[in-house]
Symmetry: C2
Subunit: 555 residues, 2 copies
């Protein structure tokens, strides 16, 4: 391992706050099984999450391979004891802890495969395709230990999809003579990692591929991968803000705060933040979809509660809304697809004649929307001419619809207070915070484990660290066959492999616990304010409620 | 002191996070001078901050009174050793630490004036006028120790202004037989406190009045009142978020984040957050006003820097904007006053003929504004029919103006990148956080000192704790004559007393330091991420940069 090689580009411009510096100096514990001699052993053969008959066709070389477990061992181990050439890439949105995955991988190579080289592909998968990389040395890696962000090598959202792109990836791993590649990413990126592993194996390349579960959204998880990294820290940061806003609401007694939280596909973040803070209303997208709620239903639900609280003397409250809410509402999806059709072919006349082309329910919904949202739907389109749903500020939209409904009730003598809304979106603030102790330690173990898996010749696995309810030293370590997480989706007439996003399960322990508490939170003010993430002290090692409930439910 | 009196209404519904509980148990240190026997001694006579000839007319009984200092003493002290009846009120917006002022006052009475009663007026000054109060007992006060928010007795923005209102206040203090009243508030509230003190003294009532300096904005300070409480915590919370967003910006490399920060009148928060995080651009309202910058100037300043950074390969950045920015721009003030005039008397025709009534510069400015802002200015008016300046989302307005300018430069071949903006407003999140160690300790000392000042017969003073660069035990304690902070303003043909807001001084140490650093921050990426407030560990007792620089500048 050359720690002062010619490619060493340790950024000298990094500056640190006192807390960042102090975090840098904190040493990282490893699970006991990784601290001593270990072997990597195979479990029973695996299948797929769905449609194994199709998965086996898509992954003929990898399908069915067993998951792996790291167990205490004595020499001779399954480890190579040889130097390795490994690449690593960060894929997709930031999540606190990514740097520690790289640190863990780096330290594995330092500890167990002396003389190895680690290459960091820059800017995400595009870095693999363009062979843009930096050699990661001690000087380069160390300054990012326990630090937030992905700025060590940055990330990107490109995908390796076409035959040409796979060829580029092959060229890169051949050029760098890579023994292995670690892909740190979400469900899509890990699917991609598995396709790369299959491709390399199919072509008899020596390069193995291991994935690592990253996403603040918490929607990449399974029995063997209990949580994705970043979720813990992001939720803690959002909950700090929500808790502060709650105490503010109770102190002023005159505002309803509508808080939108990151998490487009699944509502795990919103649910976890609800456990941490006890808001009056929490909208869970999966429940909205399951019950086919309309926007009017949701508006009424909120408005009813505001009226009930007014009767109890409370003219304030806090409402949590998942970022992806409107994607969960079937009628909105219908309206948007009709709008896309109309916008593509027709003229939007000022007189509104175009609206006659909408189906009756869609027309009704369109008229129900606040004017600003109507305009946004008609005016702001993406490069393909489609409505930009992601740009809609759902919290403001709901706030306005609730206000309109309250005004109408006031006119009927059903509501007498003055409604004042405040809207918030907590998103980017949570993706790059200093990782919590949990994410710091979890990521370090994930990265170290990825090194061990590669070193023992594994490919197509996702690094899996378990028993997370126990102290770090008792954590279990292994790798789960990526194909075992796969199902297929039909796109453009073809089967595509996908790792299904783990949604909030309405029959799961976390949602059920929430459902049993929310009525009390709604009318009584059970606010709790978790405060800022602490790195030392009694709260420093708290786990997320979601994880604890899921661990308990499985026990 | 009845700790279980009939009026004890300790809220049993309060719930705590683990961190809140642990903060509750933390004991509060007192400055050494308050721990032992002490005397309160007078300094030299005082004058006024401006127009003493008018201040003496407005405060004939109080003008010129000396400031007071608490010094080590032996019995007989100036303390009464008798039980007291004291009222306390929280006035205006929340600031972290308010509960500890009350705790300090309460503990003073417990320690030094046994048998005393403390009444908390509910919902701000309206509570005084309506005699709405709660007796504060040990059980009532204790659960709020070191906790954020003002929810112990809540706050309000009413003012005691008219002769009828002063009469109501008199009735209340007579009814409760109050020896003293502590007003916890900002510049306005402390002016009001001084008027009450003058009024009570003029009418030979025994009720003394002591103020305490509260505001997260940091614009209530003087030589003897080095900082208002809440500023420290609020800036730390905002800076945590800004730091996170910065690392995100550096990691993705594709966003400019426009961050608006609370602070309507003065830009202290924005300046302090700049020191804590090193953003690429920081707009300081006071500098904008002093240089009579136009919106176009500010837009160009930002746009120029974005272009320069693009040349250096940076297509991202972070820009801090004070909430009150547009109040500092003379041309905007002019436009708004013209709009108010026109909106009051004329019809806004769709053809835009009404715009001819605007002066040429105002017309130009109006056309320069983004359409959404134009509409907001015309449509959203307060109950008096005036334009609602406070509702304008300055960060979005600037972002849009910058984008428009960049598009125009792109058309001229001067800018080639794609600009993507993200906007944030950090406001309510910072007002009710768990108070930092500094604010916890500072507030406790302020409250304890207020008790001592009242007990020694003082009135019309603001509780003053100094030598804040030293450890708590070495802090100095006293009271500053509120009249000495006063000047007059002419309103409706009359002189009104005001405590002038302490603005960012362009010749002061903090701004000068900032000005010497900002060019480097602009082009090099010197981001630092302060991370979440810590209550233990190496960063737990950090002071604000602003305070340290001001202390240094005075030394």
């Amino acid at each position: 391992m050359s720690s002062n090689g010619a490619t060493d580009q340790g950024k000298t411009t990094l500056e640190y706050s006192e807390l960042q510096s102090s975090r840098l100096r904190v040493s990282l514990p490893l699970p006991e099984v990784l601290r001593n001699s270990f072997n990597v052993i195979d479990g029973p053969p695996s299948s797929a999450a769905g449609n194994p008959d199709e998965i086996v066709k898509l992954f003929p070389n990898l399908f069915g391979q067993p998951s792996a477990e790291v167990v205490p061992g004595v020499t001779p181990t399954t480890m190579s004891n040889q130097s390795l050439k490994i690449g690593v890439v960060l894929s997709g949105g930031q999540a606190p802890g990514g740097h520690n995955v790289i640190s863990g991988l780096f330290d594995y190579l330092q500890d167990r495969a002396k003389g190895s080289s680690l290459y960091g592909f820059k800017g995400g998968p595009a870095g693999i395709m363009k062979c843009k990389y930096v050699e990661l040395t001690t000087n380069f890696v160390y300054p990012y230990r326990n630090q937030g962000g992905f700025d060590m090598i940055c990330s990107g959202r490109d995908k390796i999809e076409t035959p040409e792109q796979f060829k580029q990836a092959e060229d890169t791993v051949k050029k760098l003579d890579l023994d292995g590649l670690v892909v740190i990413g979400g469900d899509d990126s890990n699917t991609n990692a598995c396709l790369l592993a299959e491709n390399f194996r199919g072509k008899n390349l020596k390069t193995r591929v291991i994935g690592c579960p990253k996403t603040i959204d918490g929607d990449l998880k399974s029995k063997e991968v209990p949580i994705s990294f970043g979720f813990d820290t992001a939720c803690k940061i959002y909950a700090e803000m929500i808790g502060n806003v709650m105490i503010d609401a109770r102190s002023t007694g005159k505002y309803y705060h509508f808080v939108r939280l990151m998490g487009r596909a699944a509502s795990h973040i919103t649910l976890e933040c609800a456990f941490k803070t006890h808001p009056n209303i929490t909208i869970i997208g999966e429940e909205v979809a399951a019950n086919k709620y309309t926007l009017k239903n949701i508006t009424d639900y909120i408005t009813d509660l505001i009226c009930k609280r007014a009767e109890l003397g409370y003219n304030y409250g806090v409402i949590l809304i998942p970022e992806g809410l409107i994607d969960f509402i079937p009628e909105v999806q219908q309206l948007i697809s009709e709008l896309n059709e109309i916008l593509a072919h027709d003229v939007i006349d000022e007189g509104g004649m175009w609206k006659k082309k909408l189906r009756s329910q869609s027309h009704q919904l369109f008229e129900f929307l606040p004017q600003a949202i109507q305009e946004q739907l008609l005016l702001e389109r993406d490069p393909h001419g489609n409505v930009q749903v992601a740009k809609i500020e759902t919290e403001k939209m709901l706030m306005e619809m609730v206000e309109t409904e309250l005004n109408s009730r006031r006119n009927q003598g059903l509501y007498e207070k003055q409604f004042r809304g405040q809207s918030h979106f907590f998103g980017y603030e949570g993706r790059c915070g200093l990782p919590s102790n949990f994410d710091s330690n979890y990521c370090y173990a994930l990265g170290y484990a990825a090194g061990a898996l590669l070193d023992s010749g594994k490919t197509g696995l996702i690094s899996s660290v378990g028993n997370l309810g126990a102290p770090v030293e008792k954590w279990t370590v292994g790798g789960t066959a990526l194909t075992s997480l796969m199902d297929v989706e039909r796109r453009h007439g073809k089967f595509k492999p996908v790792i299904k996003k783990a949604m909030v399960e309405l029959e799961g322990a976390p949602f059920k616990k929430f459902a049993s508490l929310r009525d009390e939170w709604a009318l009584k003010n059970r606010y709790i304010s978790p405060g800022p993430v602490q790195f030392v002290g009694p709260t420093a090692n708290d786990l997320s409620h979601t994880l604890m409930l899921e661990l308990g439910a499985k026990a």
